[in-house]
């Protein structure tokens, strides 16, 4: 197990991680400049997860938030969320979920689900559910309608995270596909980035069914909390 993880941390991985963190932060700032209603601040993390494996992705996420905390202290307590984004992105890539566009949507959804689950306790414990982010308006509205604190926070995350994480996964996928095959081959897991040619109907149906199951699961979790 440990040896397997160690294999992912080649010199290429160690050099990619700082670049990926800088990509996270720089794109996050471009998005703010363009006034888009998403964060897109984990593209680098997902990228490392795809081509260098889950644990490298997790490390990138955690360090990314810690370093971003140097000039945006509000991002500091959210490092576990970033950690799990990188980890889940890596596992999805290992399972072959970064090989064509609809699988990428599925990975984005799984990442969003994880992010929502991990961020909820942080949001509730540190901020009482109302964080400094704009999506807290939804939480506040749900609280006013009489929902419980946990279910209000979880519902807000389920409403806002998928859009952000699916576009993040899509952009990371596009970046990996845009890199030259020779460069990708130097990283530990080039096979995760190899795109599939043509997609069969059965695969599409499987993906739709899995997405529906994931959505249903989300609702079950929500109802259990409320």
């Amino acid at each position: 197990m440990l040896d397997k993880i160690k294999k992912d941390f080649t010199t290429m991985t160690w050099v990619l991680i700082p670049v990926a963190i800088a990509i996270n932060i720089a794109i996050g700032q471009i998005v703010v400049l363009l006034k888009l209603p998403v964060f897109l601040d984990s593209i680098g993390t997902v990228l490392v997860g795809i081509i260098c494996g889950p644990w490298a992705g997790a490390l990138t996420g955690a360090l990314s938030n810690t370093i971003w905390g140097l000039f945006n202290p509000d991002s500091l307590p959210w490092w576990p969320v970033a950690f799990f984004i990188g980890l889940v992105a890596g596992f999805c890539a290992n399972a072959g979920l970064f090989k064509n566009w609809w699988k990428v949507i599925l990975s984005g959804f799984l990442i969003a689900l994880t992010a929502a689950i991990v961020s909820t306790p942080i949001s509730v414990y540190l901020y009482g559910g109302i964080t400094a982010s704009g999506s807290s308006f939804i939480t506040a509205y749900l609280l006013q309608t009489g929902q419980g604190l946990w279910s209000a926070v979880v519902s807000t995350s389920f409403l806002t995270e998928p859009v952000d994480k699916i576009s993040t996964a899509m952009l990371a996928f596009a970046i990996v596909q845009g890199l030259s095959k020779r460069l990708v081959a130097r990283f530990p897991r080039p096979e995760n980035a190899a795109a599939e040619a043509g997609n069969s109907t059965t695969q599409l149906i499987t993906a739709i069914i899995v997405t529906i199951i994931v959505v249903a699961l989300g609702f079950v979790v929500r109802n259990m909390l409320s």
Binding site: V15, A22, L33, L36, I43, L63, P73, A140
Partner: protein, 259 residues
Amino acid sequence: MHERLSYYVKRDSSIHRLNPLTKIVVALGIILISFSSPWYWTSLILLFLVITPLCFVGEVSKEFFRSAIRLIIPAAGFIFLMQAFFQPVGETVIFSFWILDVTQESLSYGFYVATRIAVMISAFTFFLLTTHPSELMSDLTRRGLPGQFAYVIISTLQILPQMQAKAQTIIAAQRSRGLDTESTFLKRAGSLVPLVGPLVFGSLIEVEERAIAIEARGFTSTHVKTSLHDVPDTSLDKTIRWILVGLVVITLVLKLWLS
């Protein structure tokens, strides 16, 4: 968009002479005590009677107050307002605005959360003002942290300003070509690709060259490396660290005992 990355201010105070690990233990200890304390006023007391005096001792009070105005007060103030307006707790309405009620309870809760956040940010700021990142990294490497971690952190701090400058250049260049970054939502979303593409591909291409360069300098070598800087670690440092650990444990016990 172009922030200063290293907060470090070079002074010769007793705080600066402490071991970097001691300072990070102090900062984390203060944060943990503030978040786990069962008492309402702990954070405020830590802020004014612990962190602020420490900054005076460390001769960084001017820089600390500057970052307080620029960073800590806006962040904490914003969280306070959000809590005051949106927390649906309490009965004693002080005033109403549209559908939002500001109650006595939500005000006091908002103050509680905001002071905790303020302690977190200011303890971290204090640590950054008095500790040079490379000093921390060489000390942690000496204590057994793999050199690769130190490389990642130091290298990120160097790459980030370059990357931000590059992003500025790309934005300016694309704008001069007529790229729309200000009008409708679809146009703004569409201009994401021509901005992100050159930035990301440009920086990823450098990765391979850099990997070869540091590999040639023994990056993956497992031999013990000698350090140019010798970071002192006195018995005072050890005492301070143990005191902080003790205080955190006491606070946690109190918290569990009282709740």
